[in-house]
Symmetry: C2
Subunit: 282 residues, 2 copies
DNA sequence: AATTAAGTTCCAAATAATGGAATAACCACA
DNA sequence: TGTGGTTATTCCATTATTTGGAACTTAATT
C-alpha cells in the first residue's frame, strides 16, 4: 500500500517530480514573496530525491541570483536542508510545525475512536481524510498488527478525483464549490480505471451523492480498492471522509457493497459528535 | 509520556505559549520577509490553543495592518487556518510538507531496523533524535504493542539540555560548536533535576563525553528516565542520538547502567552504516 | 441607539526582492 | 599542476513589495 512510487512512474514530463494531479497552481493566489517561497518548498518536498541548485533552476526558470537567495533563506530557517553534496532536501523544522498541526487537530481527535471500531469491524485499513483545495490530505490511518509507519501515509496529499475519500468529499460540495473546483483539476491517469475527464467524474459524483458512499475501483493504484463515506459540516466549510481500503483480491465489490453500511454509520457518528463539539451552526 | 502539557504549566510570562527553552531567536538570522512569517508560524503552531488576531497582535507588537496581511498570506497558502470564530491554527498543508521530509530522511531509514532490535532487547521505548540548533527533533520511536500514535512524539522539538539524546549530542560537539550553542540556551526548570546553568550542564557533558553515554534522571519529566548514546558524522556536521526511555519505577539506575552497552552498540551500528551509505569523509 | 472593542482596508514612504553579469569554487582529465 | 567545463556564489542599480499609521467597517455590549 505504498501510495507514490511505482504508480507514479508513468507520470508526465518532469520525471523528478511527483505530481499529484492538482495543486501547484500558485500562479493566481497572490501571496507575494511567500507564494514564491512556498512554491519552492513544494517543489523540493515533492521531488523524489534531493535536488541540486541547477535542477531547481531548470524547474523554475527563475534568475540564478534570485533563486540562490530564496533557497538560502529557506535553508536558514530550517525549512530546507542543504547537504554536503550541495543538494536541497526538505528540512526537519517542517516536522516540528506539522506535529503540532496534527496533534491538535479537532477532527482527528474526534474521529480516532470511531476509526478504531471501524477497523475492528472490517479488519482492513481505515483512513481519515480532509478536502483541502482539490487534494485529500490524510489525517489518520488505522491498520494491521504490524508496527505502523504512520508518516508513510498520514499527511500525504492525494488527488480528489481518484480516491474514495476524495470522490465522497466531492459529492457533498455545493454546485458552486464544484464549479470552482472542477475546472482546475489536472487529470492524471494513474491506472486504466482513473477518471480522466470532468464529465465522467461529474456523472459518478451524482451517483455517489444519491447513494451516500463512494468506491475506489483501483483508480489510484492497481490492485487497491476502497469504500468511503463523506463527512461534512452544515455549511460545507469543512469536508472530509472516512474509508476502508485493501487489496482487490481480498475485497470483492460485493464485500465493499456490504461495508457501505458500517462506513456510512461511522461517518454519521463522527459528524454527530462534531456537531456537538464544534457547534451545529457550521 | 506526554511531553508538553503539565510540565509546561509553571513556565514563564506568556502562558499561552509552549516555550521549549530555546529557538525563537529569529532576530539575528537575516532571512528578510520569510523570517518574519516563519516567526508567526512558530508562534501559532506552538501555542496551546488557536489564537485570535488580537492575541497575536499582542504577542508580536507589530502594526495591525502588517500583521493582518502576513496572516492573510499564511492562510492563503494553507500554512495556517482561520476558523469560523476568527482564530488562527496550524494549517494542514504543513502535514503534506512534513510527511515528505520524514519519509525520505536517510538517517531515519538507516536507523529503523537497529531501533527495532534495541526495542526487542530492552522491551522499552526507543527514540531516535537529531540535533537542530539547540533542540532535539525526534525522528522515530519504537514502542509497545499498542498501535503507535507516532505524531504524538515524532517531530516534536525538545530542549537539548534536559533530554538524554540532547545531552549525548552535546557531548560530541566540538568546543567551538559548544561555545556557540551554550550562551543561547534559556534554561527552563522542568523538574527539580533539570540543569539550570551552563556550568552544571558543561560539567556533566564532560563526563558524558568520557563515558560515551548519557542519562536523563527525570530531568525533563518527573518519573521518566532514559539512557542515550550519541551518533555523529566525522566532521560533526550531523549529530543525533538514540535512547531507551521508560518510567522510573521500572528503570532503576542499575538497569540503565546495564543498558548503556546495547544502546552504545546500537549507536555504533547506525554510525557505521551511515559512513558506508553517505560516504566516510563527512 | 450609543459605545466600545475587534477586524479590515488604504496608501505614501521605507525596505526588501529582483535579475543580469561578473566572480569564485569545484571537478575531471591530461 | 594546469586547463576547460561545470556549477555555485556574490554584487548592485533597478524595481516591486512590504511597511505601518490612520481611517474605516463590522460585530459585540450596555
Amino acid at each position: 500500500m505504498n501510495s507514490s512510487g511505482d504508480s507514479m512512474a508513468q507520470a508526465d514530463d518532469e520525471s523528478l517530480l511527483c505530481d499529484t494531479g492538482a495543486s501547484r497552481d500558485t500562479s493566481t493566489r497572490d501571496t507575494g514573496t511567500l507564494g514564491k517561497l512556498v512554491m519552492l518548498l513544494d517543489l523540493v518536498t515533492h521531488a523524489d530525491a534531493p535536488l541540486r541548485f541547477t535542477d531547481i533552476l531548470a524547474l523554475t526558470n527563475q534568475p540564478r541570483g534570485t533563486l540562490h537567495r530564496q533557497l538560502g533563506h529557506l535553508v536558514a530557517e530550517g525549512l530546507l536542508e542543504l547537504d554536503a553534496e550541495g543538494r536541497y532536501a526538505p528540512g526537519l523544522r517542517l516536522l516540528d510545525f506539522a506535529s503540532r498541526s496534527w496533534a491538535r487537530n479537532e477532527f482527528r481527535l474526534i474521529a480516532a475512536p470511531h476509526l478504531a471500531s471501524l477497523h475492528r469491524e472490517t479488519g482492513e485499513t481505515v483512513h481519515l481524510g480532509v478536502l483541502r483545495g482539490s487534494s485529500i490530505i490524510y489525517l489518520d490511518k488505522v491498520e494491521g498488527h504490524q508496527p505502523v509507519r504512520m508518516y508513510s501515509q498520514i499527511g500525504n496529499a492525494s488527488p480528489c478525483y481518484c480516491t474514495g475519500v476524495g470522490k465522497a468529499a466531492l459529492s457533498v460540495l455545493s454546485s458552486v464549490q464544484l464549479d470552482e473546483l472542477l475546472p482546475g483539476l489536472h487529470f492524471n491517469r494513474f491506472t486504466s480505471a482513473t477518471h480522466v475527464s470532468a464529465e465522467s467524474l461529474l456523472m459518478e459524483i451524482g451517483e455517489i451523492a444519491a447513494a451516500g458512499h463512494a468506491f475506489d475501483r483501483e483508480e489510484h493504484e492497481a490492485g487497491i480498492r476502497c469504500v468511503a463515506a463523506p463527512i461534512w459540516s452544515d455549511d460545507r466549510s469543512f469536508i472530509g471522509g472516512v474509508s476502508v481500503t485493501g487489496p482487490a483480491y481480498r475485497l470483492s465489490m460485493e464485500l465493499l457493497q456490504e461495508w457501505t453500511i458500517p462506513v456510512q454509520v461511522t461517518a454519521r457518528k463522527i459528524m454527530d459528535e462534531m456537531r456537538v463539539r464544534l457547534g451545529p451552526r457550521r
